[in-house]
């Protein structure tokens, strides 16, 4: 008999009880915190005289505010320095493991937890950050929470939650050369809409995801939230286990074998029932670029900015807003759009394989005149591995800046910002108005290889023209 989807099984195993409101009290196996959304949570704990129930199940790092050029303390930005000290104190006071700058393991929270093997199948994972969906790539149930909920997890290791429905999002087939995981998820968001996933966990299934590496799977799950799904996951398999084995916090010896058996048992049953199923063909996906101000306003690189008539009534007003803000008229080909800034990094695409793909495009070429292009590794470990392979030298020779790890211009809480109406080609996840640090700055989302190609060409270009035939 079916015991359901991975979501059902993990949810049930972590259910502490049903609250009087009918919500589930769910145990959170791993809690990740950073400097932006945790200070007020600790303040509330102190105000209420509460302790941290399981300090060993919370792990902290600093990512959003860190400068990526000069990291000397105190930071030049006094507000950022205050946040930094606040986190350092909270972690020291409550006995929480903290990966600080210079520890060798600091980085974007959604990069460091997987690379250390903290993220594992079958866990429930919460973090005060919407891109916590990333960790679903391992077959964990992971989602973003607000600061009051960060307080709840610190105090009780649990959350009050309503159960989500599950939609199976199937993609089958092999991707064309020059089409990456980022293109797959941008395509899915384009097709399903930015609110299509509200109320759902997305189970990404099918041969396309099965063929992906863990880093590619993380890129897909990372952006589940951009399609409205608070949580996205992929069933664990041999690719997952091969990635995990030997990492800092992976189980060892006999426990490793037990773990694999347990993880296998959590996979969605073949006869599990889903609240909804949709499917797509990998061969139809082109390198995809956003042209607007929401992540579902995306098109294939050879397409033109869509006409207002092509939208349903509910999407037309925001399309009009996007034409005006982006200064891109309907019918304009996106290819050839001039670019000012190129950003490679973020929790979506700041991992080693992302930098490797971008470096393949950059190698032996040079950034176009007048373009600012920079590469920000997702973590100190990614930076160190990339340097061991000489990627920093490839980028620098091509005219890219090579930076320290952090969120950087994904949301520009540090000094890396767009200026005025500058337009960026960005490997990050959000093209919202003002997202990259200038209230009128503009963002085109695309894969890291496409960003590198845009940097070389000085305009949006099809990365396939740069690939060996």
């Amino acid at each position: 008999m079916s015991t359901g989807t991975l979501f059902d099984k993990v949810w049930n195993l972590h259910t502490v009880g049903i609250l009087p409101s009918g919500q589930t009290q769910l145990f959170i196996g791993l809690h990740l915190i950073h400097e932006v959304t945790s200070p007020q949570a600790f303040a509330m704990l102190r105000e209420r005289g509460l302790k941290v129930m399981y300090p060993q199940r919370t792990v902290a790092t600093v990512d959003h505010i860190v400068p990526t050029d000069n990291q000397a303390r105190p930071f030049a930005d006094t507000l950022a320095e205050e946040m930094m000290q606040n986190l350092e104190k909270n972690c020291a006071d409550y006995g929480i493991r903290f990966y600080n700058i210079g520890s060798g393991s600091q980085g974007i929270v959604h990069v460091i937890a997987p690379e250390q093997g903290l993220t594992q199948p079958g866990m429930t994972i919460a973090c005060g950050d919407s891109h916590t969906s990333t960790h679903g790539a391992f077959g964990a149930i992971s989602f973003g929470i607000g600061t009051s909920q960060v307080r709840d997890v610190l105090a009780s290791q649990t959350l009050a939650l309503g159960k989500l429905k599950v939609r199976r999002v199937e993609v089958n087939g092999t991707l064309q050369p020059g089409v990456y995981a980022k293109d797959v998820v941008l395509h899915l968001i384009r097709k399903l809409g930015v609110k299509g996933g509200v109320g759902y966990a997305y189970e990404y299934a099918g041969t396309t995801f099965e063929q992906m590496t863990m880093e590619e799977r993380m890129t897909v799950c990372n952006m589940a939230i951009e399609g409205g799904a608070r949580c996205g996951y992929i069933n664990p398999d041999s690719v997952t286990y091969a990635y995990l084995q030997g990492r800092d916090f992976a189980p060892l010896g006999r426990e490793w074998d037990e773990a694999v058996a347990w993880w296998d048992s959590l996979r969605s049953d073949a006869d599990a029932t889903y609240d909804d199923v949709v499917s797509f063909d990998a061969a139809e996906i082109d390198p995809t670029v956003t042209w607007g101000i929401t992540p579902d306003q995306g098109i294939g690189v050879s397409e033109a900015v869509p006409a207002p008539e092509s939208f349903g009534e509910g999407d037309r007003a925001i399309a009009q807003e996007a034409y005006a803000y982006m200064d891109l008229a309907p019918g304009t080909a996106i290819k050839g759009t001039p670019i000012d800034v190129c950003f490679i990094g973020s929790c979506t695409n700041g991992r080693l394989s992302d930098l490797q793909e971008a470096a393949k495009i950059a190698q032996g070429r040079h950034v176009a005149n007048g373009i600012k292009a920079f590469v920000v590794p997702g973590s100190e470990r990614v930076k160190q591995q990339a340097e061991a392979e000489g990627l920093d030298k490839i980028f620098e020779a091509a005219g890219f800046e090579w930076r320290e790890a952090g969120c950087s211009m994904c949301l520009a809480m540090n000094p890396d910002k767009l200026q005025g109406r500058q337009i960026s080609a960005s490997s990050s996840n959000r093209n919202f108005k003002g997202r990259q640090g200038s209230a009128s700055g503009r963002t085109l989302l695309m894969s890291p290889a496409m960003v590198a190609a845009a940097a070389i060409a000085g305009k949006v270009t099809d990365v396939r023209e740069f690939l060996p035939i």
């Binding site: 009918g22 932006v36 105090a155 649990t158 409205g228 108005k433």
Partner: protein, 213 residues
């Protein structure tokens, strides 16, 4: 921005107060998919408390558009915010609903809400109720035509009224009960289950592996 000062003093709902009704004038904010980066731009997140966020709500949108609803004098002091589809999408920052509440808003009616935003509001005691698009649009039009009109949001009976306008609202039973019984701040209830929590901790394999975090 006069109301922000008053609401800072109010701060947020007193913990575990019962939230059965909200009333006051309303503020119609038209548009779908309004994300939390717009509600409170990231530069205002460089802080260790939520104090002072009220005055920065929609800072960039208001600066770029002097006719933005939050700028208009007739909506100052409003308690009820009326929005459209997928309000609060994007980042999980609780700074967004905190900024709205500290500006002075007590309740939000919309076509739909992004999930994390809805959960953040619930945890703060700010009810978010939904209605059909026609109902929301009609309410926005009425408020635009009569900005001074008192609007009542009856959380308990899931209804909105204002003058001769009345409509049913939707709010799932769980959040409805938490708000009306005053258990929306779940922290105390959660902590009280320490024994049951420890039992789950004992049963989960991964927290007990020798090499666990």
């Amino acid at each position: 921005m006069s109301s922000s000062v008053a609401s800072e003093a109010r701060n947020s709902q007193a913990r575990n107060s019962q939230i059965k009704t909200s009333q006051g004038t309303a503020l119609p904010l038209v548009g779908n998919d309004i994300d939390t980066d717009r509600i409170i731009p990231a530069r205002f997140l460089r802080c260790v408390t939520f104090d002072g966020l009220g005055e920065h709500v929609f800072a960039d949108d208001r600066q770029q558009d002097p006719s933005h609803a939050f700028n208009q004098p007739q909506y100052q002091g409003a308690k009820i915010l009326v929005v459209n589809r997928n309000f609060g999408c994007g980042s999980s920052r609780e700074h967004a609903p905190q900024a709205i509440a500290r500006w002075g808003i007590d309740a939000i009616i919309g076509e739909s809400f992004a999930e994390i935003f809805f959960g953040n509001c619930l945890a703060m005691g700010v009810p978010c109720l939904t209605a059909a698009p026609e109902t929301v649009t009609a309410l926005q039009a009425i408020v635009q035509a009569n900005p001074g009109r008192e609007v009542q949001v009856d959380v308990e009976n899931r209804r909105v009224t204002g003058g001769d306008f009345a409509a049913d609202l939707t709010l799932a039973d769980g959040p409805h009960q938490m708000l009306t019984l005053g258990t929306w701040d779940a922290c105390g209830q959660l902590v009280a289950q320490a024994e049951a929590i420890e039992q789950i901790f004992g049963e989960l394999p991964y927290v007990n592996w020798a090499n666990a975090a």
